[in-house]
Symmetry: C2
Subunit: 796 residues, 2 copies
């Protein structure tokens, strides 16, 4: 156990006073609704009727809070705490209340007796403050419910903040999760020159809900080997139930000082240019902090041990309202912190308790990065005119949408080269997703070994690639939550890997909007490409458009889904997404050559509307309205729909066809369900109230039904989309298998449009024959027939 | 590099011949559709028009295949290969073809020239064999598309198979994923007495798609430290581009022999009873195998290095059909394996090539565990009568459904104590989910340190708990894929963590049904509890019923969702799920006290129907049909619905109310969409065609709309459910917030039922007042008002 010689007894006692105050405030949050200073003996009516909260993790969290305070105060080191054991919100709230950052944000939770009572009473109560860290907790950037992301968030927060120290407390329960287990490797992506430092504190609390934790039951040398294998230099601090707290304070102060010294040395070496930039990687420090679960709480209950076991996980003494003996036990426990020494007559913390607390924005509850919107700046997005592709007439040319987007992102990376507030994240798919243009402006960041054959890998890159969607997502969350901007580009199917993380981020943003002092943050942006329809060489496992459905189930004030049909529309929706605030944007676009339908001006108008009639593709005459509506959303469905419209123009020239393209899926919803929703009158103007609508949709067809079931035309709606039929096969075979090919759409039109007359049966058969011909060609040749559509739109 | 002295030159050469044969067959699968033995110089028409596949990982996979063969042959050790780099299906197919296991399953892919040509031609082609490992690959138990699960699958396969060695090849790309990173810790759960062994082979291929891999760029001592920290004893085998293959064979044979020796020693010690069962954990061996990516393939192309770089990831020589020089380069490459030495005139492998290949079911493509249905036995499920709760009349009593289910699971664990073919998996939630009865039949399995204070932790337990949903899911998948049975019990919200894994498993099962030789496997069963409505102390982050939506988007031949409304129905659906084959069953049930509605016999009938009218709860008279239908699915919605029906009985006694309860969500679908779907006539009989239907549903309300949009009554349907409104609050406040409380349902009935007359307005107001009164009570008291419903059903 390292020992810090310079910590005097007085300093140690002041630290202990701060820690005791946090423990007192925390325990009281679980139990009390009155009598906060224990001016009188506890009575049942002082106790909350429902006891809810998690005590077990709190004393350890509080210990870190105390010592991080000390580190910040002594060194003037700006620090952000990431509280992985987010069930311990009471500890973090206690810290913020004690240091005064909480009352600055919410004056009603004042640093005196009434404020203390309010702090206690509203914790974990209906209409009050949730029991997990949430946006209402000052200094916290993560929802503490779903575990696994503390370290990824910490690294995301540290990127491009060279002066920041991010201290991430990782619970030993959380450490068992997959996302956390791979997050340790994030040190291979942290640039000591441009990024801040991450100090992980692995908190060996010993137990989860009802089981011991894996890491706490390893021999210390094995755990040390694991941490060194992850690339860290571990410092061990161990407290047992019988360890005198002052000894623990000395040990932890010493470890934090040693860690800070090493971090400083690493950063000075890297930033002075002395460091070896091609070979060795710095070995960043980390702390393994072992403390008893529920330390300083009740030792036992009814003869069973509580402290240092899983029994202290939640409320360690239940039933105190009804059992006078238990109530006395609670009172003894609370008084063991000697509240009279900690708070004055009015309930204000005494000066010695606050000796370790830093000032102003250095306080952990006031650090601006924890309320990232305070630091967010408008992105210098380059003008789309520089990237837009020329479109003489619809379908005359073709581009790879993501490749052109890559140029825009390159421009953005160039424009932010100095500011460093935009990053691109991906699971080793930037090349595969045709975004490689970005390497013209930034390397891929990489701190591990470099070889002569490597290309576009460098120490200072802002494109981060690691084969972990969880890390990509966690980094991006940490980055935007602390006031920056970014984009996560992924294969569409594998966005589902982070479905749960996306939900939690949506919940965060939704809740943060209700917290007055939280400032808007940049949107979390997904580009989903290499999508279901074009997984020619990967097949079935790579086909899953369900992330759209998942996201559209979540808070409508936050979620946005855009399906740009071509290159210029992709530029427009990307530009919009990168400027957005407090949203989660899902943009789905292909990487393969795609016909250009709209020029930049048309694309802007179309994307601003979110959906619209493409008159040039239809065959309506006059004001009679269409006989049939062909609707589409997504690049491949748009292609097939326009091909079908083209065939119908030739084969059934008298038929009035309307072509509608949808970019913004939420436009299909009612305005009561989503802020982008169209009202019924507008909707009916576009889709009609009673004509057949054949809707070719990028994803699972039932999504369109669920978005439109209340519309007048819904009974006339037939949706084609991905129906879980796929394999390693050709692009056209994919649309055929799922009934979304142009011929099938034509057959749908014939089937569903009344009064087409005798000619229609022939058209149906012709489409069926061509479909079958194509199918046979694929089986025989292993490729699709060459595309023959020549898009003869009349006189534009 | 360890060296195995006993490997003679002749043995090494025979191994090399096998390896070369695999490489030849693999490369040809990517390129050729004719001329499989290169009888004539390659011409463009011999080449496939679309070149698809992944060469880079294959030579390393093949090397392991060769040496695993040797291990099995020499020792008679039954082994299962888990091929993590699943993009390398061509290598595994080559192995199965060469050893003859493939032709036994598919005689048309015979071990001769025509069969070889077929092997090549159908690989990665439309209508052929997918390019990733899939159910069509003999000897494989995992879909190779989504990476991260190889090691979890391997451990799942090894549990309760004491004689099996599972060799898991982990790609260094896959190793970056979160699920894989935590899977290494599975050795803390592997019982050396009752379980088989897992031999992980970390294959350092060096590159992913376009980036180096993290682990391949660590110093060897750091990587060794990581593996030792994970609890393994690593053996390093390294081959560089210039390493003579025979040297690599000697090294790998030596490492495999050393590993097998150590595994044998560990198992003998544990099984003889000599091992220390309280202290030290065995240190299982693992192999770090470094080979150049695309080893033995083209060294360079157009002056750029290909072998040993990311450029060999997919097809290393593109454009061979159009470029004569490239075509010659391909031919030189293929001939470098000296096919004449490997295959005879007829294309049959020569005997020396097969020297290392084991016989019969020991062949890697024929091992029964890889086609788990071959080994699956009917579970000895105890009779439900022993567990069912008595129900004198509906609502007279209440039980915690999962607690009673825990008794059934205990009975099943007892009945399988000898067979050991059933396991329970959970993320440290077995206690929390009220399933603790199972500890009466089995400990929780645990191989790390044991303390005197531990309870129900032991070396041989079949309840496995680790705070990683990915591990739980991966273990269960591996367990059922190899012919066993199991259940994964989780908090409902966090099932979303494994949404993507669930999709992939559904895809596997769906595809396996189309492979004639695959035998049905046991269902993959989820029990989702601690659900959205009862997260009183956790709040918003723990509320997400979206897993149901996710699952119901997938192949309807596989997915099943059951929402039992009470204890006896939970027993029935659990019993059914545990007997099911080739399905994925999601059962959602609460853990809190829940009124008992149906006795066992009624529950059986109701669950067999999947939905039904609860006449006793309604107020219909005669055959006139109802004025309004109250439908419900899920325990909390059922409770609120019955409470609403009870209020209506009192407040609007003339109103004919029908109560419908839905257990099997797929019953709402059309039979064309799901095999459990009701046809329209049946559906209309239950729900009517034209009466208002107020549907209280457990999850997101739009799911019910998407399942029923084509029904006649749909325009009359109002669905209440979870609408993303939650916090740390009381149970009743939760239903109020989301508009699903009994009072709101009554108000809905009044709003939507025509012709109710003057009295209705008063009823509406009364419900609104009671709702408001309850709301105020919650805010003032922090708890719900006591439940007052006394369920006075008439004369039952």
């Amino acid at each position: 156990m390292p020992e810090h010689e310079s910590l005097t007894d007085r300093e140690a006692e002041a630290l202990d006073a701060h820690w005791r105050a946090l423990n007192y405030l925390t325990a009281c949050q679980l139990y009390l609704r009155a009598n906060p200073l224990l001016r009188e003996p506890l009575r049942p009516e002082h106790i909350k009727p429902r006891l809810l909260g998690h005590w077990g993790t709190c004393p350890g969290l509080s210990l870190v809070y105390t010592h991080l305070n000390r580190l910040v105060s002594r060194r003037g080191q700006r620090a952000l705490g990431v509280w992985g054991p987010g069930h311990g919100a009471a500890a973090v709230l206690s810290g913020a209340w004690l240091e005064g950052s909480y009352e600055e944000l919410r004056p009603e939770v004042s640093r005196d007796e009434p404020g203390m009572e309010r702090l206690f009473a509203e914790f974990s109560q209906p209409g009050g403050v949730p029991s997990h860290t949430s946006p209402s907790v000052p200094g916290s950037i993560q929802e503490g419910g779903e575990l696994g992301y503390a370290l990824a968030h910490a690294y995301g927060a540290a990127f491009d903040r060279p002066d920041l120290l991010v201290c991430a407390v990782v619970g030993d329960g959380e450490a068992e999760t997959g996302p956390l287990a791979t997050s340790w490797h994030a040190n291979k992506f942290l640039d000591p020159v441009h990024d801040g430092a991450v100090l992980p504190v692995l908190h060996l609390n010993g137990y989860k809900i009802a089981n011991p934790t894996v890491l706490s039951r390893l021999p210390e040398d094995e755990l040390g080997s694991l941490m060194r294998g992850y690339g860290y230099d571990p410092l061990f601090v161990t407290a047992r139930p019988d360890t005198p707290p002052l000894e623990a304070h000395r040990a932890l102060a010493g470890a934090f000082d040693a860690a800070a010294d090493r971090i400083g040395a690493i950063q000075r070496a890297a930033r002075s240019g002395d460091a070896d930039t091609t070979g060795g990687r710095p070995r960043w420090p980390m702390v393994v902090l072992r403390t008893p679960k529920g330390w300083s709480g009740p030792r036992e209950l009814d003869g069973e041990p509580v402290e240092d076991t899983w029994r202290s996980h939640q409320v360690p003494l239940p039933g105190v309202r009804d059992d006078p003996e238990r109530l006395r036990q609670l009172e003894r426990w609370l008084r063991s912190y000697r509240p009279d020494e900690l708070f004055d007559q009015d309930g204000r913390p005494r000066p010695e308790v606050l000796a370790c607390v830093p000032e102003g924005d250095l306080r952990l509850g006031a650090v601006p990065e924890a309320n990232g919107g305070r630091l967010l700046r408008e992105l210098p997005l380059p003008p789309l005119e520089s990237y837009a592709v020329p479109v003489e007439r619809p379908g005359a040319g073709a581009h790879e949408p993501t490749r052109v987007l890559g140029e825009l992102l390159k421009g953005l990376l160039e424009a932010t080269a100095e500011r460093r507030d935009f990053r691109l994240f991906g699971p080793d798919e930037t090349d595969s997703n045709h975004l490689s243009a970005v390497y013209g402006a930034s390397d891929r960041g990489w701190q591990a070994e470099l070889l002569g054959t490597d290309t576009h890998l460098g120490r200072h890159g802002r494109v981060l690639e690691v084969l972990s969607e969880h890390l990509c997502q966690g980094w991006l969350e940490g980055y935007v939550l602390t006031g920056r901007n970014g984009l996560f580009a992924s294969y569409e199917a594998f966005a589902n890997l982070v479905a749960s993380m996306a939900s939690q981020h949506v919940k965060w943003v939704h809740s943060a909007r209700e917290v007055a002092w939280r400032r808007p943050i940049a949107a979390l942006n997904y580009l989903l490409t290499s999508h279901a329809w074009r997984q020619d060489h990967n097949g079935f496992s790579h086909q899953d458009p369900g992330f759209i459905d998942h996201v559209l189930s979540k808070s409508p004030d936050v979620v946005r889904v855009q399906l740009p049909p071509d290159t210029n529309t992709l530029l427009c929706v990307a530009d919009h997404a990168l400027r957005a605030r407090d949203t989660v944007n899902v943009v789905v676009a292909g990487k393969h050559p795609c016909f250009d339908w709209l020029d930049l001006e048309q694309a802007r108008t179309h994307c601003a509307r979110g959906l619209g009639v493409w008159e040039w593709a239809g065959t309506e005459r006059g004001d009679a309205g269409p006989d049939v509506v062909l609707a589409c959303a997504g690049d491949v469905p748009t292609h097939e729909t326009l091909a079908a419209a083209s065939l119908l123009r030739e084969w059934l020239p008298q038929l009035a066809v309307r072509v509608v393209n949808v970019v913004d899926m939420a436009r299909l919803m009612s305005p009561t369900e989503h802020p982008h929703g169209l009202d019924d009158a507008e909707f009916d103007t576009v889709f009609t109230r009673d004509r057949p609508v054949i809707f070719a949709y990028h994803g699972y067809p039932w999504l369109v039904h669920r978005l439109t079931y209340s519309r007048a035309v819904h009974g006339q709606l037939a949706v084609r989309g991905y129906r879980e039929s796929g394999s390693t096969t050709t692009p056209f075979d994919m649309v055929v298998r799922n009934g979304m090919d142009r011929y099938h759409l034509v057959m749908d039109v014939v089937d569903r449009t009344p009064g087409l007359g005798a000619r229609a049966a022939g058209v149906w058969q012709r489409a069926a024959d061509m479909r079958e011909r194509h199918r046979r060609y694929v089986v025989e040749h292993g490729t699709d027939m060459p595309e023959v559509t020549d898009w003869r739109w009349p006189g534009r």
